[in-house]
């Protein structure tokens, strides 16, 4: 477990199915995610399939964010697009419970430290819906910089919306 003051990160496992099922079916979480791959709703069996599928993929790490006091699952950090010949990856955070910038920032910082220090990556990048200011703030507080604006790359609330392309290099990361 990667432990911070407020939150920790543990690898995704099959017993996380109930939390994941709740998040994937929560309209607020779905809106915030800007994720094309998410279906309208999921049953528990489908969530179990998702977890099995993710655990079988060597090109990704899924880390569950848990509260340090009590161990309640709060969200998930995904590090994807990993490739043995490259040292950059995409990072995404799904925050399943009530928004809490301090905890979100700490979860991201722990994941960044893990990616750079333990996995030897040198670049992390994120694609965050521009309208999700809270999530953008969390990434920027960890040190991510805006690299570009991806025009109309997702549909939400009846209109096409932009996403921000953000990145952090290992040399820029603050120690966690």
């Amino acid at each position: 477990m990667l432990r911070g003051e407020l939150v920790g990160l543990v690898p995704l496992q099959s017993t996380d199915e109930l939390a994941l099922n709740r998040w994937l079916n929560d309209p607020r979480v779905r809106r915030a995610s800007g994720r094309p791959s998410w279906k309208a709703c999921y049953n528990l069996e489908q969530v179990q399939d998702i977890i099995r599928d993710r655990l079988a993929q060597p090109s990704r790490y899924d880390l569950i964010v848990t509260e340090t006091s009590g161990g309640q699952p709060l969200g998930m950090v995904e590090i994807t697009h990993l490739h043995p010949m490259r040292d950059s990856a995409q990072i995404t955070m799904v925050w399943g419970e009530k928004e809490d910038l301090e905890k979100e920032v700490e979860a991201l910082a722990l994941a960044v430290t893990y990616a750079f220090n333990s996995q030897g990556l040198h670049r992390l990048w994120a694609r965050v819906p521009s309208a999700q200011q809270g999530m953008v703030d969390a990434f920027q507080q960890v040190g991510f910089r805006v690299e570009g604006v991806l025009r109309e790359d997702h549909f939400s609330g009846g209109i096409w919306r932009d996403s921000l392309l953000l990145s952090l290099l290992s040399a820029e990361a603050r120690p966690c």
């Binding site: 950059s88 990048w125 570009g148 604006v149 991806l150 790359d153 096409w160 392309l165 290099l169």
Partner: protein, 181 residues
Amino acid sequence: MLIGEKVDLVAADRAYVPFYTKWINDPEVTQWLKVDPPMSQEMEQGWVDGIQKEGRMVFTILTKDGRPIGNTGIEEISWRYRRASIGIMIGEKDHWNRGYGSDAVNTLLRYCFEELGMRRVELITDSDNHRAQKAYAKCGFKVEGVMRQYRTKNGRLVDDVMMAILSTDWFGLHPPKTPEE
């Protein structure tokens, strides 16, 4: 088959593997690409076999007299948000700078916007590859950002450029034809 003005695009096939292997192992061809040679013929066959499973569309670019000169393709397709990424490689160097690549990209974009109903098509290209960026801009792509130190080339970290074209950009350049036309 997708029909262009100078080229046709056909599905990638095991029959073309000797060409794929030659192209992917030519450092001049791959200097701007995010690929990891050396590749054996068996590895290239495995790549062709895996295309369907991975939900990508890969086309071999043929000249009008049927000569394979490169590959292009669509990946990271999101049907929900109607967006995708594309890539291209012209492997036959005697066909560089002669409009074959641009025609292949335009043919692929026509398919994306006019047949698949895509809303956004994006690509990533080397920041030093100004010739390609100019060619993509001519096709309607706009620069949206610079991805710092996105990949390693010759032991050096290099930036890449994110470019994208929206369906509104495409139809602004290529207005839909009326039935009489």
